[in-house]
Symmetry: C2
Subunit: 287 residues, 2 copies
């Protein structure tokens, strides 16, 4: 019945969803066990380089533009005037690069627990780390949960949780206590954005719970934006935005239309389209 894949493939099995995704690999470029996770980089036949953390696909050259544009730009174009941005996770630096495209941003701090991710990105995904020398960028290798715990009240405009799945090193980033601290750290009008898994697989579970937790943490507006992401489970992914006195169901459309950023996916129409949830999601999220 099944075509079996030989050893020339990397396969990620999504056990709880009974599906798997595979990419044809031509070479193992890098493999290291960091203090936090297992990291591997493969050359693939058609997706360019592939980074894998603890067996989960993180990104490929070919399609990471979808995720990185959608975790950065909707949040930054929702905030009225973002100057101070913090990224928790995001060690591959692709999100950082997108944030730095916003000329109004004064300072971005990226806090990833695992320096190995950034070192691997510098070697194998140099286009993602190309903006790391920007004087507005600060790269820390530390525990993001602790960093947020110690950060000053009302000090950040946009907080981006660019994490792995809610197991392993990222587990603490999906807890109400952490979201409450994020709320405290954000200025009035601040926007939080978090990657929030698959619309097909997780609307009735992780996404629904995250939205409820955001409400309990004090956020007064919430919006989940779906977008295609071929190499992630189900090929369909989402980010969820939460506002502290900011309405995250609208955004600075004229600024998006006027921007000259070299974007591949994100547009005002994509943002508007994503804000209007498919009926099946609305039902699962809001019932």
């Amino acid at each position: 019945m099944s075509t079996s894949l030989d050893s020339g493939w990397f396969t990620e099995v999504f056990d709880s969803h009974g599906s798997a995704f595979s990419l044809k690999v031509t070479e193992t470029l890098h493999e290291v066990q960091s203090p936090y996770q297992h990291l591997a980089v493969y050359a693939t036949e058609t997706f360019g380089n592939l980074m894998v953390l603890d067996g989960c696909v993180m990104l490929t050259d070919r399609d990471n533009f979808l995720y990185h544009e959608m975790i950065a730009h909707p949040a930054l174009f929702t905030h009225a005037d973002p100057k101070r941005v913090v990224i928790i996770g995001g060690g591959d630096c692709g999100t950082l690069r997108e944030v730095l495209r916003h000329p109004g941003v004064d300072r971005v701090t990226q806090i990833d627990i695992d320096e190995e991710v950034t070192r691997a990105a510098e070697r194998f995904f140099p286009s993602l780390t190309a903006s790391n020398d920007d004087p507005r960028a600060e790269l820390l290798f530390a525990d993001g949960v602790k960093w947020i715990e110690e950060a000053a009240d009302d000090s950040v405009d946009v907080l981006i949780i660019d994490s792995t799945d809610p197991v392993g090193p990222a587990e603490g980033l999906f807890k109400t206590d952490f979201l409450r601290r994020c709320h405290r750290v954000l200025r009035a009008g601040g926007v939080l954005v978090q990657q929030s898994e698959s619309p097909l697989y997780h609307s009735g579970s992780i996404i629904r719970e995250l939205r409820r937790d955001m409400g309990e943490a004090g956020f007064d507006s919430v919006a989940t934006l779906p977008f295609p992401q071929p190499v992630y489970p189900s090929g369909w992914w989402s980010v969820t935005l939460a506002g502290k006195g900011a309405d995250v169901t609208s955004f600075r459309e004229a600024a998006v239309v006027a921007t000259e950023m070299p974007l591949e996916y994100y547009t005002a129409a994509a943002h508007r389209g994503a804000l209007a949830l498919p009926p099946f999601m609305r039902r699962l999220l809001e019932d």
Copy 2:
């Protein structure tokens, strides 16, 4: 490196794109070699039943709503007043069911070359064939290319090409001659819609060529609409609309907003969002 999948999985390998998608299977429910293709139905662990033609995933219970809504409703809500609809292919009857939700439609003829597909759908996907007794529906098992060749001029409002990939039995449905005949058969104001593969994999090849062929066949307006489809290659799929004196870049938005059809994905916002192509696609399609 790779987790190998045991025999409990169905895997479709997309050779030219170096990727593969797998579903965990609990039982083989049906297997038949028809005169046209190999057909199999499996019970999966989490996607309900799965139909496979010549090794390619056709549909699952869980996510076929995406494809069926997007191949039917954008075309029907683009046409000013569709009464006569023809479906080439579509033997699983899911598209037929969506078309029949439109009360203004007087008659729908579905022409699929392979009766085994419809028989298998009746047994294993009964919700898709639930509208087959509608007196407005006519099911023919015949060669769609020949049917179009013999159809009267100016006799159809919406023509839906709900085919397999452009290899094997469906090859003739992706040729300019066929499109020219479709144009002839459509009434003025008519709309053609064809499934048009993956935005990520095929924007610079199949989709681009189909749009060019549609232009050469006499269609004066064309629009490609991307949408998520987890079980198809890359998890991202598209339909392409073409108009014969109909502008397929706009649609009857008020009618979509007012509809009470039980839809899971399609909305006016989804239609508008899909019409605004991501910049990377626009570049590949229009350069």
